[in-house]
């Protein structure tokens, strides 16, 4: 089985250690991990700003780069969801896309649904309280957890996978899945609202007494991280793969 890493453009530049942790995690399970160098942005910023031509071109390019791999796996719920659920707006009839679409996974989904893991590659001891951040697209479009609006049985992929980590103390913030306010270009189109939302979110995570905010979307963590740094707060954002590979403490 080969797995192509889909590393979102901003993760490539700003969070290379998250991408590397994703690769190492997969390799730890004996997977042949490939990183197609010709990959580019998935086109979500274009789509979210109405540039359908640009979004369509990006979708075709992505499909061309990734279509021949067994699985395509990414450490970002939002970018994964764009490929999986919104490319259909632009290239629904593309046979290559149709064949590829079911094989695109966010990393936690892939570990749980394809690899069905019941242990981590290396045992991890992480004796810290962490507050779970459910990022919206992972939550509501990929079904990472039961959204608080829906009256369906509770489940949470992040809580479930953290059961494989020793010592971790998992907590949930008040308003368990409210948006952090990042929203892609929303963060700079409406910076005041975006930061107001982020400040509220960070405060709710802090109120749990957690030392870390743990999520599966680097963009939300970047946004909250920027607010935390501005306010000189001690809580730290952490991507789930950083914990699962035992790198969490270094952050």
């Amino acid at each position: 089985m080969n797995v192509a890493l889909f590393i979102p453009c901003f993760v490539n530049e700003l969070y290379p250690h998250v991408a590397m942790a994703t690769a190492e995690l997969l390799e730890g399970y004996g997977i042949d991990v490939v990183y197609p160098l010709e990959q580019s942005c998935c086109g979500q910023p274009l789509s979210n700003n109405g540039d359908s031509q640009g979004a369509c071109d990006a979708a075709r390019r992505f499909t061309g780069v990734f279509k021949d791999y067994d699985y395509i796996v990414s450490p970002s719920g939002s970018c994964t969801s764009h490929v999986k659920h919104h490319y259909g707006w632009y290239i629904a009839d593309d046979a290559d896309y149709q064949a590829m679409q079911p094989r695109v996974y966010e990393i936690v989904e892939f570990l749980q649904d394809v690899l069905k893991v019941d242990r981590l590659p290396k045992p991890v001891y992480f004796p810290h309280p962490v507050s779970i951040h459910q990022s919206c697209h992972g939550l509501r479009e990929l079904g990472h957890a039961a959204p608080s609006e829906l009256m369906i049985p509770y489940h949470s992929r992040l809580e479930r996978i953290l059961q494989l980590v020793d010592g971790v103390d998992v907590r949930l913030p008040e308003r368990r899945d409210e948006c952090c306010g990042f929203g892609g270009t929303f963060s700079v189109d409406e910076p005041e609202v975006s930061v107001a939302m982020g400040e509220d979110r960070v405060a709710q995570h802090e109120a749990t007494g957690a030392e870390f905010i743990v999520g599966a979307d680097p963009s939300c963590l970047m946004h909250m991280g920027g607010i935390i740094r501005h306010k000189c707060r001690p809580i730290r954002p952490l991507h789930i793969v950083e914990i699962l590979t035992g790198r969490g403490g270094a952050a």
């Binding site: 530049e13 990183y35 580019s40 640009g54 479009e141 910076p191 939302m197 400040e199």
Partner: protein, 460 residues
């Protein structure tokens, strides 16, 4: 009427200047979302109920013309006069015509977002008819000469001190008495007089039933009932999408409406108007005003399923932190941000961007409108209509180009990583990213692509 030139980002930034008031607004409305959750949780069939409502509305939209014709036939058999209005102006002319024929001097109105949409109040006032909004929240904003900031809680942007001051000036209540019970009962006494002396009553319509030719109006206050039981003329204005096929379908919608809207199992009054009372007249005005165009749009016709519960506003994290007054269209929040741009993308384009695409609105919607997706699709229309600011459009075109040329994208990323750390903070501090209190992340020495290639070389 609302100022079409409102830009959401700017208006929201102004609202957030008073952080304490903004926090109050956020938590007051979040509480309504929580009440909605508590009600929904009590019904094991909640999600199935939403599906039923969605299907009934989707079915109705596919035969809207037939159901409206059936509705009209039945209403006329009940002795009700049915009018059709293509647009806001025709609606206002019809209403004025009925009032003028009846010699009406004073009209009492219950809540109707449609009449806000049509600008009915100023139209009638210019023609010498006194219009009294009777829903407490509507009355408050009417006395303040401002539009409602929420479709269910029109005065939710105000603190009780502001309302106390207003009532002191307008109704002569005690200065400084901010007690909500005192203020509500003062308005009750004042509005009773209006109910007893009005010549006509106008209501909105929550549901119009094709099978019976009647309309249903839901209120907690009882104002629609007093406003129609006392004056001899009742006018009900309805958007043409309010139709449902049968009486039994009320058994689905009345279970969803108040639970979604205010977290109550039902409104105090769910009133079914089939006929005028003896000696009175009843008129129903069916209004299109752009709805039939939306019906023909594959991306947006589902927005016509809306039952105006306002749950999407209550859950919207952007709405809660910006108030309804930051939106240019009369209906704010997620549903307004698809309806407004559908009506006029040039005027209301900024609304489509007032959204993080979190998707919570689509999940609370009792008729399952894909709201957050519609907002993204409205942005497509904003882009195509040329409403984006030139700098943003340039940025997107550059991004479009770089996306197709990853080596240039990489070069740009590298440049950013090298340059940002040496730029003085005084320069980055004023960027949209940093201005409101948010730092940039650390710039790593290497990109992942560089790390990956180095790792590969080390291995081989």
């Amino acid at each position: 009427m609302k100022n079409d030139n409102i830009n959401h980002a700017e208006a929201a930034a102004a609202f957030l200047q008073d952080r304490e008031q903004a926090r109050w607004h956020d938590s007051a409305i979040w509480w309504v979302r929580q009440k909605r959750d508590m009600q929904a949780k009590q019904l094991p069939e909640w999600e199935q109920l939403r599906s039923l409502a969605q299907q009934i509305k989707a079915h109705t939209l596919s035969k809207l013309d037939e159901y409206l014709e059936q509705f009209q036939r039945n209403a006329e058999q009940n002795g009700v006069t049915v009018h059709w209005a293509s647009d806001a102006d025709e609606h206002n002319r019809i209403v004025h015509g009925i009032l003028a024929a009846g010699g009406v001097k004073k009209l009492v109105k219950s809540k109707s977002m449609l009449t806000e949409e049509c600008g009915l109040n100023p139209y009638l006032e210019q023609r010498g008819i006194a219009v009294i909004d009777t829903d407490l929240g509507e009355r408050i904003v009417q006395l303040r000469h401002e539009p409602p900031s929420h479709i269910v809680m029109p005065a939710i942007h105000l603190k009780k001190e502001q309302i106390s001051e207003l009532f002191h000036k307008e109704l002569g209540t005690e200065a400084g008495n901010n007690d909500p019970t005192y203020l509500t009962h003062a308005a009750r006494a004042n509005l009773r007089e209006h109910f007893l002396t009005a010549d006509a009553g106008l209501t909105g319509v929550n549901f119009a039933i094709a099978e019976t030719g009647g309309v249903v109006v839901c209120t907690n206050e009882g104002n629609a009932d007093l406003g129609t039981a006392l004056p001899p003329i009742h006018i009900a204005s309805m958007g043409l999408e309010k139709i449902i096929p049968k009486q039994e379908h009320l058994g689905v919608f009345t279970r969803l409406l108040a639970r979604s809207a205010i977290g109550s199992p039902i409104t105090t009054y769910t009133s079914h108007f089939q006929q005028a009372r003896p000696g009175g007249q009843m008129h129903i005005v069916i209004v299109d005003n752009g709805r039939s165009d939306i019906l023909g749009n594959d991306d947006f016709y589902q927005s016509l399923r809306c039952i105006r519960c306002g749950a999407c506003m209550n859950t919207c994290p952007v709405y809660r932190r910006s108030t309804g007054h930051s939106y240019s269209y009369i209906i704010p929040g997620p549903i307004g941000s698809t309806l407004g741009p559908s009506r006029d993308i040039k005027k209301h384009g900024s609304m489509a961007f007032a959204c993080t695409t979190c998707g919570s609105c689509s999940n609370v919607c009792p008729v399952k409108i894909n709201l957050h997706e519609q907002l993204i699709l409205q942005r497509k229309r904003a882009f195509d209509a040329g409403t984006l600011k030139p700098a943003k459009k340039m940025g997107l075109l550059a991004m479009r180009f770089l996306t197709q040329h990853p080596s240039l994208l990489d070069a740009g990323g590298k440049l950013m990583r090298k340059v940002v750390p040496i730029v003085p903070q005084a320069l980055t501090r004023h960027s949209a990213w940093s201005r409101p209190g948010r730092e940039l992340p650390d710039m790593p020495a290497q990109s992942f692509k560089e790390m990956w290639q180095a790792r590969k070389e080390n291995k081989s």
